[in-house]
């Protein structure tokens, strides 16, 4: 069995699955249940100054559902903890005492002055917590007050606050980044320059879920008025993966330890984040949708995967896919693939045909010799993968590399030498040989 023990910034946990700072980690009761279920660690829900903030007393959450009401996307307008600081500190102290082998990091969000941070950080550290996570990510509510994403969207602020914290902190400091930026690398770089030990990402994305079709107001509302919330859940994973990979492959930030967050629901999602450069992962929405029991699949799914890959530990997986991520301009333009339909698996739904016919390159038949029959026309196929995307049968349509002979579409011989846009004759900015 692969060793799932994880060490992130020197913080050890029995597995790389932490609960993210969010409603599931607001109270000792919940965190205790999570640790009983087997979670490796938790980031306590964000602490703020006393008196605590208040939340609305109506809907805080909303979802994007499939027809069978599976939750695809999730949105919330809950703020940071609404309990007194001392209550939280007492409970954190107790949990750390009861669960010494689990990682316990405390999220914190404070106004923009150095004295405040200097005052609270020692109080939090005194609980015995393993680390601090600076919440520069929340896009709703707190950002209106100059905190959360309002800080995370300005690299200079990130660096400044990180510096304040590092001056007083003795435990590792993680900066949690907001995805509500044009480019994730400058905020990550600012965290690093401010001395942060690592960054976690992504926090939630600005979002409005829908309108109410009866009232024609946004949905949900608090007494008729609503506000944008933070979007998360499975639907945001691809956005998060890109941001993780961007930081992991940028020379300025590649050495920054990453904690991956965003839509992780099963072990494969965790593999995505780990392979693209995250050292561990944090989960919230899946737990809020299914309960803490999902940790079972996360743990033994990842363990079995590592075994199958012959990897002895999680660290062997971390960053494995990063070298495969590059800029478009470096993609090999001489490489050719064609779609192939497995006629034994094909159920003749015709989806591949109609999408190719209507929206792509008219490269799949509908009728052959008067019979309903779907087959790729190599002379037209550009290898775009659309048919693979829409086929309802797993493995029925696959992409076949064409490595020699003639490309039936262009009539040209397959060139086995790599050549990309940087040297392409159509590129006015091409590098001259």
């Amino acid at each position: 069995m692969a060793n799932l023990t994880s060490e992130y910034l020197g913080i050890r946990s029995p597995n790389p699955f932490w609960l993210a700072s969010a409603p599931p980690t607001d109270k000792a009761y919940n965190v205790n249940r999570a640790f009983e279920a087997g979670w490796g660690g938790a980031v306590w829900k964000t602490l703020g100054e006393d008196p605590p903030i208040v939340n609305v007393n109506g809907p805080r959450y909303s979802t994007l559902h499939s027809n069978e009401r599976r939750v695809i996307g999730f949105n919330n307008i809950e703020l940071i903890t609404d309990r007194p600081l001392q209550t939280n500190l007492d409970e954190i102290r107790q949990i750390k005492r009861d669960w010494p082998d689990r990682a316990l990091v405390v999220s914190v969000m404070l106004p923009m002055d150095e004295q405040t941070w200097a005052k609270y950080i020692p109080m939090i550290e005194d609980t015995g917590a393993d680390g601090l996570e600076l919440n520069f990510g929340c896009p709703h509510g707190m950002s209106e007050r100059g905190m959360g994403a309002a800080v995370g969207q300005v690299p200079e602020y990130i660096q400044m606050v990180a510096e304040w914290c590092k001056k007083v902190a003795t435990v590792p400091v993680i900066v949690k980044l907001t995805p509500n930026v044009a480019n994730i690398v400058p905020p990550a770089k600012a965290a690093k320059d401010g001395g942060a030990d690592g960054v976690s990402l992504i926090n939630t994305i600005n979002s409005i879920m829908r309108v109410d079709y009866d009232t024609l107001t946004m949905y949900p509302t608090t007494d008729g008025m609503g506000t944008h919330g933070g979007y998360c859940g499975e639907a945001v994973k691809p956005i998060a993966l890109n941001m993780v990979a961007e930081i992991a492959r940028n020379p300025d930030t590649a050495d920054l330890p990453l904690s991956g967050i965003g839509g992780i629901t099963n072990w494969r999602d965790a593999v995505d984040f780990l392979a693209l450069g995250a050292s561990n992962v944090q989960v919230c929405t899946a737990a809020m949708v299914y309960g803490f029991k999902i940790i079972d699949d996360l743990v033994d799914g990842l363990s079995a995967f590592l075994d199958d890959k012959g990897m002895a530990s999680v660290s062997a997986l971390v960053g494995a896919a990063v070298p495969s991520v590059t800029d478009w301009q470096y993609l090999n333009l001489n490489y050719v693939e064609k779609a192939v339909i497995d006629q034994d698996l094909c159920i003749s739904c015709g989806r591949c045909h109609i999408v190719c016919e209507d929206t792509s390159h008219q490269a799949i038949t509908h009728t052959v010799n008067g019979e309903r029959h779907f087959e790729v026309i190599d002379e037209e196929c550009i290898g775009c993968n659309l048919c693979v995307c829409v086929c309802p049968v797993d493995g029925c349509i696959t992409m076949r590399p064409v490595t020699d002979g003639i490309d039936a579409r262009t009539g040209e011989k397959i060139n086995t030498e790599k050549a990309n846009w940087t040297t392409h004759p159509n590129n006015p900015m091409r590098k001259q040989g």
């Binding site: 069978e68 159920i347 015709g350």
Partner: protein, 446 residues
């Protein structure tokens, strides 16, 4: 309650009212909204969908299912009803297992098709419950068409003609319109008087006058209609019943299945219907299944269906055969009736086993058996009443029509069970009526 003492057969009240009510509840209860959404999600939205090709009326099935998914139920109903105005009844009675659902590509993927029939019912039920008018009439053409027959073919034709702007008079031989939907289909397939709700909906388009209790031949002739109207559509069904052609056909207890079914459908209190103790049904079509299952559900102790050929040749689908069997009906294949026993009243019926001879012709063997019977139902098919169609070209007992349902007379069209190429399905009758109406419209506008 079944009496243990052999009493006068057949008798009524074999079961309590509550038992009968339960037995004649909805065969397929409707889908709830969440069930419908989950089922709708199973549709792959096929291109040139095989289910649509398999539907005699060509309903855009992926289209209506997608509208269920998006909660566009009225749009979904319109997608169905614009091709098949009896989409509500067809959702209940179509043998979907040999039509749309047999063609569903999910059969290849996981051997379980999308429940198209139930989804169709889900989409159309609200339209009938709320009487939502989805159709409007074109400008009045000033033309008048006579439709003979108030069944699915006639009403489908009438509705389409009305939407196209023509005025229609429907001549209906029964006291209520609906034809076999009202008088012929098994009660548990169309509960809560749905057939009349559907008729009301169809007539609500306007421009359709229905005259009940008038029969061609008795009250008017085809020639009179041709003289008085701009065009005529015949949806007259098969009014005559085939006979066994053996002695004792007229004994007490030997009845026509369709007549009993009609009586059952019109009964206010089904427990008052006389039911045999030992019921034998002769035939292999839907009517045989319907009468057998309904007899069983009314409390008959023993019900046997006897069919002269094998299960594959039965007109009833496999699903229908299994419905009979799970309802407690025994199906005997490869036997034909030899003689009826009893005085004035049938007591048993003797069968000869059948097999194919060297030339592949079905013949009776010497092997015989006897089934006790106090009721024998004949369900061996209907035929055209001879005097209905004196002026028309007829082949194998059906009116000859072309692809546009045109008969041998230039101003007469026909459809439903009475025409050649018919398959005795409601859905086909609806298609015939629709196709004929479009052809009549073209003819009237020439």
């Amino acid at each position: 309650m079944v009496s243990t003492k052999r009493s006068q057969e057949p008798q009524s009240s074999r079961l309590s009212k509550a038992e009968i009510e339960d037995n004649f509840g909805d065969l397929h209860p409707p889908l709830s909204r969440s069930e419908a959404l989950i089922e709708a999600d199973r549709c792959y939205f096929c291109y040139d969908a095989p289910c649509t090709t398999a539907c005699p009326t060509g309903i855009d099935i992926p289209g209506f299912i997608q509208k269920i998914r998006s909660d566009n139920i009225r749009g979904s109903a319109y997608t169905i009803l614009r091709e098949n105005i009896m989409g509500g009844m067809c959702a209940r009675v179509c043998p979907t297992e040999v039509l749309c659902e047999e063609a569903c590509v999910r059969n290849l993927h996981e051997e379980k098709p999308v429940s198209i029939g139930l989804l169709q019912r889900f989409a159309t039920d609200p339209v009938f419950e709320q009487a939502t008018q989805l159709f409007s009439r074109a400008d009045a053409s000033g033309r008048k068409v006579a439709v003979v027959g108030g069944g699915p073919a006639g009403l489908s034709c009438a509705h389409r003609l009305a939407t196209l702007g023509h005025d229609v008079v429907v001549f209906n031989r029964d006291s209520k319109p609906g034809g076999l939907n009202e008088y012929g289909i098994a009660a548990y397939k169309t509960i809560d008087d749905f057939a009349q709700k559907e008729v009301d909906y169809i007539l609500s388009i306007g421009g359709i006058e229905v005259r009940n209790d008038v029969a061609m031949g008795d009250d008017f002739t085809l020639q009179q209609l041709r003289d008085d109207y701009d065009a005529v559509f015949l949806g007259i069904g098969l009014a005559a019943v085939n006979e066994l052609g053996m002695d004792g056909d007229d004994m007490t207890g030997v009845d026509n299945a369709i007549e009993y079914i009609a009586e059952l459908r019109q009964a206010d209190d089904k427990s008052a219907l006389p039911v045999g103790r030992n019921v034998v049904v002769i035939g292999g079509g839907m009517t045989a299944i319907d009468i057998a299952v309904q007899s069983k559900r009314l409390g008959a102790e023993r019900v046997d269906i006897v069919y002269r050929r094998g299960p594959d040749q039965m007109g009833a689908s496999r699903y229908e055969q299994e419905l009979a069997q799970t309802s407690g009906v025994t199906i005997h294949h490869w036997a034909r009736p030899l003689r009826l026993h009893g005085g004035g009243k049938v007591t048993s019926i003797e069968f000869a086993r059948t097999s194919f001879d060297d030339k592949g012709k079905l013949k009776a063997t010497k092997d015989t058996f006897v089934l006790d019977a106090d009721v024998v139902f004949k369900a061996i098919g209907q035929r055209l009443a001879d005097d209905d169609v004196v002026d028309l070209k007829v082949q194998h007992g059906r009116i000859v029509v072309d692809d546009s349902q045109a008969t041998s007379l230039a101003d007469v069209w026909a459809g439903g069970d009475c025409v050649t190429g018919g398959d005795d399905l409601t859905v086909s009758a609806v298609q015939h009526g629709k196709v004929a109406a479009i052809a009549i419209d073209t003819y009237l506008r020439k």
